[in-house]
């Protein structure tokens, strides 16, 4: 059941992205920014956490989850460090993902033949 939910919810979020690609002139970067901001707003309103509890990977894996992690990071950091958390929370909350994507991306580039994608 949780697999079905992850498949359908994750699929639907991707379908929304595809609708934006097909019917608007938005670039990939713009669509990703929109999804991240949407996730951040939903996370900030406290709606994304229950969504993750319900949909599992269907809510965690789409890039909207990245946005909600930004909001969560900021909230936690402010609780722990006060106003400094306003600045540190976003990167802290998403540090693992950003660092991993940068590091693996760099390794992939170093090891592949240039020109390949």
């Amino acid at each position: 059941m949780e697999y079905l939910k992850a498949f359908i919810i994750g699929g639907l979020i991707c379908a929304i992205g595809q609708i934006l690609i097909d019917y608007t002139k938005l670039t990939a970067a713009r669509i990703l920014v929109m999804f991240v901001i949407t996730g951040l707003i939903l996370g900030g309103l406290g709606w994304y956490k229950p969504f993750i509890d319900w949909a599992g990977a269907g809510a965690v894996v789409p890039i909207t989850g990245f946005g909600s992690a930004l909001a969560k990071g900021v909230k936690q950091a402010i609780e722990q460090k006060g106003p400094l958390g306003i600045l540190t929370g976003g990167i802290t909350g998403t540090a693992a993902g950003i660092s991993a994507a940068m590091f693996f991306g760099m390794i992939a580039a170093v090891l592949s033949k240039p020109g390949e994608k």
């Binding site: 992850a6 498949f7 699929g11 991993a100």
Partner: protein
């Protein structure tokens, strides 16, 4: 004038190849859904081996990022992306691909200007506006005492 603009629009619509949304949306749904299904399997595996729910989520995202970078390195991810569209863009694997693909493509321009700079061609705006929005959010919840 308005009327001609409208009829011109109709002509353009007729002449341009029909939107393949009947194909693209289902394939984005299926492939995006499958990536999330894989994510769910990973979450369950990590939780089975004792990771707390939140940790399991992070390990899952890291695993997906690793797989995506690897497949991008082998040139496989972009081949899937041709059919999947948003199905491979919207999941976190798309973010990893957006970093790895230009890094690989622009390796010829060198390690600093090529790999180091170009890897943020797409991911850069996502990080810049994501972090900036999170700071605005932080100011709001701090000022209004909502944290």
């Amino acid at each position: 004038m308005n009327e001609t603009a409208k009829s011109y629009d109709r002509m353009v619509k007729k002449a341009s190849p029909g939107t393949k949304s009947g194909k693209t949306i289902p394939s984005a749904f299926c492939i995006g859904g499958l990536i999330c299904l894989l994510g769910q399997a990973l979450i369950n595996i990590y939780e089975h081996y004792g990771a707390a729910s939140e940790q399991a989520h992070i390990y899952t995202l890291l695993t997906l990022i690793f797989i995506s970078s690897l497949l991008t390195g082998f040139g496989v991810y972009n081949n899937i992306a041709k059919y999947a569209g948003a199905g491979t863009l919207v999941p976190i694997t798309g973010f990893a691909n957006a970093i790895a693909a230009p890094a690989i493509e622009f390796k010829t321009e060198g390690f600093i200007i090529g790999i180091g700079t170009k890897m943020f061609a797409v991911a850069g705006p996502v990080i810049v506006y994501g972090i900036s929005a999170s700071i605005l959010y932080g100011i709001v919840i701090y000022v209004f005492g909502l944290h």
